[in-house]
Point group: C2
Chain length 713, copies 2
C-alpha cells in the first residue's frame, strides 16, 4: 500500500463517519426513533415518545457530544453502573497507552524508520510504500535499532505502570460500590450443590438440618431448586399467548378478529379469535398449574441458602462444609434476575461432560473457522457466479460490478460468518454449567477474544495453509522468527483495517442501523409493537474482544510500524465519546458483575505485550543484531512476573469481598430498621419464576400483568 | 544381557541380602548397638543399653521379622503416626499393583513375547537374551499385540481403582486421626503475615486491634515474631559450650583439664580448662541476654495468632482479611516444634526472589546434573589414573584391579554425587520461604522425585548427548516414537538395576552401615558421646522418591518387559517388612504432617501411567499396528480425567479440615475441663526458642538443662 492510497482511504472513511454522525444527529431527534436512540431514557420515563414537528429537528447538531462528555466519572458511575464504568476505563486506558506510544512512535521511531535505506524505495514521498515507515526499512545491523530496543523497554514499563494503576483504581471503585450498595439478596445468599440426601428425607429437610447444625447463628432460610425445564417452556408459551391476547383486545373492533380454525386459519368454520385465544390460554394455564404441582416433587439436590449476615454467608462459602468435598459445594449466588434457571436441570456428570464437549467444540471452531469461510469465499469467484447465475453474465462483465463483487463479496461473507460467532459462543458457554447469565457472558467474552485474536490477527499474519500454521506452534523455538517475518509484512493491511473496519464499526454502533431498520419496519407494518419494547443491554462479549483486538494491534505494531498509532487514537477517541453516549441513552444493564470484566482486559493486555516482545526478539535476530535479541528475553519474563504480582495483589478482590468490608457493612446494616423487612423479601427472592402462580385469563385477578411477576423475582 | 547372567546376578544379590540379614540379626542383639538398631525404644525408655553376654546373642534369628509383622494396622498407626502409616501404604499399594500386574505379565504377556520370532534369537534357553522376553520379540503387525493393548487398558483400570481406594482410605484415616487427636496448639493457630503497621504503633498492638475488631468472639492471643537470626547463632554457640563444659565436668579429674591459652592450645600460659570454659560461657550468656533485649525491638510484621476454637481459626484462615490481599495474609501454623525459625528474618521481596532463584537452580541442577558426573567419571579411565598416580601403574595392570576400577569406580562416583542431592534439595527448599520443616521436606521430596525420574530413568533411556535429550522434549510429536525406541532397549539394564541397587539399598537400610560405623568409632575413641544421642527421623524426601522410582519402572515396563515384575515384588516385600521394623524400632517422627505425602505418591503414579501410555502409543506405531496406537490415545486422556476427579474428590481434605469436622471437634472439647489450662499453654507455644531465658553458668539456677527449654517449645 502506498501513502496516497492510505490517505484516500482515510478521507473516504472520515467522510463515512461524518455522514453517520450527521444522520444520527438528525434521526435521533425524530420522535419515532426515540426507542432506537434513547430506549434507556424511555424506560426510565425521562423522555416522552411523541413531540411536535419543528425545523430544528432536521438540522444536524453536535449537542449529544456535549451531553455525553459532561457527566463526571462519579456521575457516570452512579448512572450507568460499575460494569459500564469499567468498560469506559478500557478506552481511557487505551487512550493513555497510545498517546504515550504515539508520541514516542511518531517523534522518534518513525523518523528513524524513514531514514533507513534497507528497502531502497526511491519513489517520491506521495508514492512511498507504507513499509518505508516501518522497521523493515531500517538497515540490517544498524545501531539505530537500539532505539527500538529501548522503546520496547520504556513502552512496556509505561504500559505496566498504567495497568497497575487501572487495576488499583478499578478495585478501589469496586470496594467503594460495595460499601455504598443497599442490602441485596445475592450478598447474603449461597448456592449449595451436591446436597447428600439421606433416604427417607427431602432435600429441604437435609439443608435445613445441616445449616441449623453447623451455622446456627447465621442461617436464615433456603429455597430448594426444582427440575422445571418443561414448566419453563409452558410458562413461556402462556406468556406469549397472553401478549397476543392483550394486543388483540386493544384493537378489539378490528375486522380480522375472526378467523377459520383449520389449517393456517384458512379452512374450517369461522371462530371468534378472541374467544379462541382465551380458551387456549386457559388450557395452557391449567397445564402450567398441573406441571407446577408435579414439579414440586422433582427436587434437584441443590438449594439457595440465605444467611443473616454477609460475613455469615462468606464463612459458609469459603470453608469446605462436608467431609466429602464433592458434597455441600458452595458458590456465591448471582443476583436473582441474573440466575440462569435452565442450567439446574442438568446432572453433575452431564455438566462435566458438556464442559469437555464445549471445550473441544470451542477449540475446533476457533482453529478451523477459516476453512469453511475460505471455501464459501472461493465460490464467489466471477466464473463460478456466472455458471450459477447465467443471467448475470452481462452485468458481471461490467468492470465496476466485477470490482465490487471480487473486492467486497469475500469480506462481506467473512463479516457474515463472524457475526455468528458471539451468539455461538454464548450458546456454548451456556452449556458449560454456569449458574448465571453474567458468568455465561464473561466466559463467552474470553472465548470470543481468543477467537478474534486467532482468526483476525494470526490468520492474517500467518497466511499459509492451516496445517502450516498449527505446525509453527508445535515448534516453540521457531515462533519468534516466523512471527518476525510475517507480522511486519501485514502492517499496511492492519493500518487499513483500523481505518476501515475500526472507524466504521464504531460509527455504526452510534447509528444502530439494524435497530433503526427493524424499528422502521415494525412501525410501518404493525402499529403496536411497542408492547414488546425492552431497552437493550450492551453485548460485552462481542464489544470487549473487538476493542481489545485494536489494543493488541497497537501494542504489537508499536515498534514495527508506529504509523498505526494515530489512527488507533482516533478510533479510541470516537469510541470513548460514542459509548459514553450509548451507556447514558441506550443500554440498560440487565445485571451487575461488579467490574469482573477488568481481569480479562488486563490479561489480554499482558498477552499483547508478550506477543510484542516475542516479535521483537525475532526481528532483532532477523536484523542481525543478536545482542539486542538476547537482551530482549528478560522483558517477557519481567512482564510475566509483573502479571503474577498483579494477580496476587488485585485478582482476589475481584473474586470475593474481604472480611473487613463484609463485617463493616454488616455492622452498618445492624442499625438499619428495614433489615427485618429485607429478610422477608429475601426468603422469596430465589424462587424459580416458573413456579410462581400465574393468572392470565378472565378468572379472578385476570388483569395481573405478567411483567409484574417477572419484576418481583 | 542373557538369562544366565541375570540368574547369577540374582543369586549374588540374594546372597548379599541374606548376609546383611544375618549380620543384622546378630549385631542388633549386641548391647553397644542398641542406639543404632533400636534408638526409638531407647528414647522411649523401653530398652536398657547394657546387658549380659550370652551365646544366644551370637546366633542369627528371625524374631525381628515376626515382631515387625505382628502389629495390626491400627496398632502401627497409633504407634508410629500417620506419616509412617502413609509411607507403609506406598508398599501395600505397590504390592497390590504389582501382584496383579505380575500375574498378568508372567502368565499372559511373557509367553506371548517369548513365542514371537522378531528378534531371531536361536540360542538355547539358558543363553537367550532377556530381550526375547520383551515386547521387542513380538512380530511386527502381529495380532497378538492386541493382548498387550488390552493389558494396558485393564492394568490402567486396576491401578486407577487401587489409587482411588487408597486415596479414600488414607483420607478417612486422616479425618479419624483428627477426631482422635488431643487439642494441639497448631490446630488453633494461624500465621499472619504482611501486617500493615501504621506509624506510631507496634506490630503487637496492630494485630491485637485488628483481630479484636473483626474476630472478637474467637480471638485468643498472639505472639509477634522477631528478627532473631544473630541471636539464634549465639544461643547455638552457648548450647555447644555448655555441652563441652558438662562433658568436661563429668571427667573433671582427667589430666587434660589444663591447657595453654595460646594458638591451638599449644603455646601461652597454662589455664584451668574448666575455669576457662565457664568464663567463656558466662560471656556468651551475657551476649545472648543483651541480644535478646535488643531483639525485642526488631519486630517482623508477622505474628502467630491463636483462636479459641478450631473453627474460629479456620474462618480467619479462609476469608481474605484486609482489603489489600497482600496484607494480613493468613496461613495455618505448623506444630511449634516444626516451625522453621530462620525463615522469618527474610523480607517478602527477598523471599520472592529466592523462590525464583531456587526454581532456576533446581531446574539447572536436575537437567545438567549428569554433565559434571560424566566429566568426573571420564577422569577414572585407567590411563588417566596412571598418569596421575604413576606409583599405581603396576597395581592397575592386574586384570582384577583394572576390572574393579573400570567397572565399579564410575558407578561409585555416580552414587557419591547422588547422595549429595537430597541435602542440596533440602537446602534449596529451605530458601524458598516455607515456614515449617515439614513443608521444606515435602517440597524437597517433590524436587528429589523429579530429579530421580529425570536422572535415573530418562538419562539412562535417552543415552545421547544432553542437547539431543532437550531437543526431544521441544518436539512433542516425536516423544512417543523416541521413547518407544529407547525404553524397551534399556529393559535388561533396569531389571539388573532392580536386582542390584534395589535389593541392596533396602537391605542396607536395615543394616544401617554408616550409623553402625559411626557408633563403633565414637564408642572406641570417645567414651561419652551418648550426651548427643537423639533418635533419627526418617528422611522421607530421599526414601519416597527412591521407592516411587521402582514403582515407575514397574508400571512403565509392565507391557514392555514383564520379567521385571517378580523382582520388583521381592523388593516391595522386603521393603514392607524392613521399613515396618525400622518405624517401630528406629525412627521417631519429629513432626506430623497428617499424611500430606500421599498426594505426591498419587501424582507420581499417575505420571507413570501416562508415561506407560505414551510409550505404548509409540510402540504400537513402531510395530506397524497404527489402529492400536490410535486406540491407545483415549487412555491417557481418561487417566488425566480420573486424576482431575481425584483432585477434586480427595485433595481438599489434605489441605484443610472441613467445617463439619472442626465444629464437631470444637463441641466435643467444650465439655473438656482442661481447655482453660490448654489455652494458657498455647499462649506461649509459639515463642521463638532463641528468645527463651537461658541460664547455664554457675549463677542462680545454673543446673537447668538446656534440653528442658527445648522440649518446652
Amino acid at each position: 500500500m502506498i501513502l496516497s492510497a492510505l490517505l484516500t482511504s482515510v478521507a473516504i472513511n472520515l467522510g463515512l463517519c461524518l455522514l453517520f454522525f450527521t444522520l444520527y444527529s438528525i434521526l435521533r431527534k425524530q420522535p419515532g426513533n426515540v426507542t432506537v436512540y434513547a430506549p434507556r431514557l424511555v424506560a426510565e420515563g425521562k423522555v416522552k415518545e411523541g413531540g411536535q414537528f419543528n425545523l430544528e429537528r432536521l438540522l444536524p447538531t453536535a449537542g449529544w457530544v456535549r451531553k455525553a462528555w459532561e457527566p463526571s466519572e462519579e456521575e457516570f458511575l452512579s448512572n450507568a453502573g460499575l460494569d459500564a464504568f469499567v468498560f469506559m476505563r478500557i478506552f481511557i486506558f487505551s487512550l493513555k497507552v497510545f498517546t504515550f506510544g504515539g508520541i514516542i512512535g511518531m517523534c522518534v521511531l518513525l523518523p528513524i524508520n524513514y531514514l533507513g535505506t534497507q528497502l531502497k524505495d526511491d519513489s517520491d514521498f506521495q508514492h512511498k510504500s507504507l513499509d518505508s515507515f516501518s522497521i523493515s526499512n531500517v538497515n540490517n545491523g544498524s545501531n539505530r535499532l537500539w532505539i527500538h530496543f529501548s522503546a520496547a523497554y520504556v513502552f512496556t514499563g509505561v504500559v505496566c505502570y498504567l495497568l497497575y494503576y487501572e487495576y488499583a483504581y478499578i478495585s478501589s471503585k469496586r470496594i467503594a460500590c460495595f460499601y455504598s450498595s443497599k442490602p441485596q439478596p445475592h450478598q447474603y445468599t449461597l448456592l449449595v450443590r451436591g446436597v447428600p440426601i439421606p433416604p427417607g428425607s427431602t432435600c429441604s429437610e437435609t439443608v435445613e438440618r445441616f445449616f441449623q447444625e453447623y451455622h446456627p447463628s447465621t442461617y436464615l432460610s433456603h429455597s430448594v431448586i426444582r427440575r422445571s425445564s418443561r414448566l419453563q417452556n409452558l410458562t413461556a408459551d402462556a406468556d406469549k399467548m397472553y401478549k397476543k391476547l392483550t394486543r388483540l383486545k386493544s384493537k378489539s373492533d378490528a375486522p380480522q378478529s375472526q378467523r377459520r380454525d383449520g389449517l393456517f386459519g384458512l379452512f374450517g368454520r369461522k371462530v371468534d379469535l378472541l374467544d379462541h385465544y382465551e380458551r387456549r390460554l386457559g388450557d395452557l394455564e391449567d397445564n402450567v398449574r398441573m406441571e407446577q404441582s408435579s414439579v414440586a416433587a422433582k427436587e434437584v439436590p441443590a438449594a439457595f441458602v440465605s444467611f443473616k449476615t454477609r460475613f455469615g454467608a462468606a464463612i459458609a462459602l469459603h470453608i469446605q462444609e462436608g467431609v466429602n468435598p464433592t458434597e455441600w459445594v458452595t458458590e456465591q449466588a448471582p443476583e436473582p434476575r441474573d440466575v440462569y434457571w435452565p442450567f439446574f436441570t442438568v446432572s453433575f456428570i452431564r455438566r462435566w461432560i458438556s464442559k469437555l464437549v464445549v471445550f473441544v467444540a470451542c477449540a475446533t471452531l476457533t482453529v478451523l473457522f477459516l476453512i469453511p469461510v475460505a471455501i464459501v469465499q472461493g465460490l464467489t469467484h466471477l466464473d463460478q457466479l456466472e455458471t450459477w447465475f447465467p443471467f448475470l453474465t452481462d452485468l458481471l462483465r461490467l468492470s465496476v460490478v466485477s470490482q465490487v463483487v471480487t473486492g467486497y463479496l469475500p469480506s462481506l461473507i467473512l463479516q457474515l460468518f463472524l457475526s455468528f460467532v458471539p451468539p455461538i459462543m454464548i450458546l456454548l458457554s451456556s452449556m458449560q454449567g454456569y449458574i448465571s447469565l453474567s458468568q455465561i457472558q464473561k466466559s463467552a467474552c474470553t472465548k470470543v477474544l481468543l477467537f478474534t485474536i486467532w482468526n483476525i490477527f494470526f490468520a492474517n499474519v500467518l497466511s499459509g495453509s492451516a496445517l502450516y500454521r498449527v505446525n509453527v506452534f508445535l515448534e516453540p523455538k521457531e515462533i519468534p522468527r516466523v512471527l518476525a517475518e510475517a507480522v511486519p509484512a501485514q502492517a499496511s493491511f492492519f493500518i487499513a483495517y483500523v481505518v476501515t473496519t475500526g472507524w466504521t464499526t464504531i460509527a455504526s454502533e452510534l447509528f444502530q442501523l439494524t435497530t433503526l431498520l427493524y424499528n422502521f419496519i415494525s412501525r410501518t407494518f404493525s402499529s403496536n409493537s411497542d408492547d414488546d419494547f425492552e431497552p437493550p443491554s450492551i453485548p460485552y462479549h462481542s464489544e470487549i474482544p473487538r476493542i481489545r483486538l485494536f489494543g493488541l494491534l497497537g501494542v504489537t505494531y508499536f515498534i514495527l510500524a508506529p504509523l498505526i498509532l494515530p489512527f488507533l487514537l482516533v478510533y479510541f477517541c470516537l469510541g470513548y465519546i460514542i459509548f459514553r453516549n450509548q451507556f447514558l441513552k441506550v443500554y440498560v444493564p440487565k445485571y451487575e458483575t461488579g467490574g469482573q470484566f477488568w481481569p480479562t482486559v488486563h490479561n489480554s493486555t499482558i498477552f499483547s505485550l508478550i506477543l510484542m516482545h516475542v516479535i521483537a526478539i525475532g526481528i532483532f535476530g532477523l536484523k542481525t543484531l543478536p545482542l539486542a535479541s538476547a537482551l530482549t528475553i528478560p522483558l517477557p519474563i519481567l512482564t510475566l512476573l509483573f502479571n503474577e504480582y498483579c494477580q496476587n495483589r488485585f485478582f482476589p478482590m475481584f473474586k470475593d469481598y474481604p472480611a473487613e468490608c463484609l463485617i463493616k457493612k454488616d455492622r452498618a446494616d445492624q442499625n438499619d430498621h428495614n433489615m427485618s423487612e429485607f429478610y422477608d423479601t429475601m426468603a422469596n427472592a430465589y424462587n424459580d419464576p416458573a413456579l410462581m402462580p400465574i393468572r392470565y385469563s378472565d378468572r379472578p385477578n385476570s388483569n395481573r400483568d405478567p411483567l409484574l411477576h417477572n419484576s418481583q423475582v
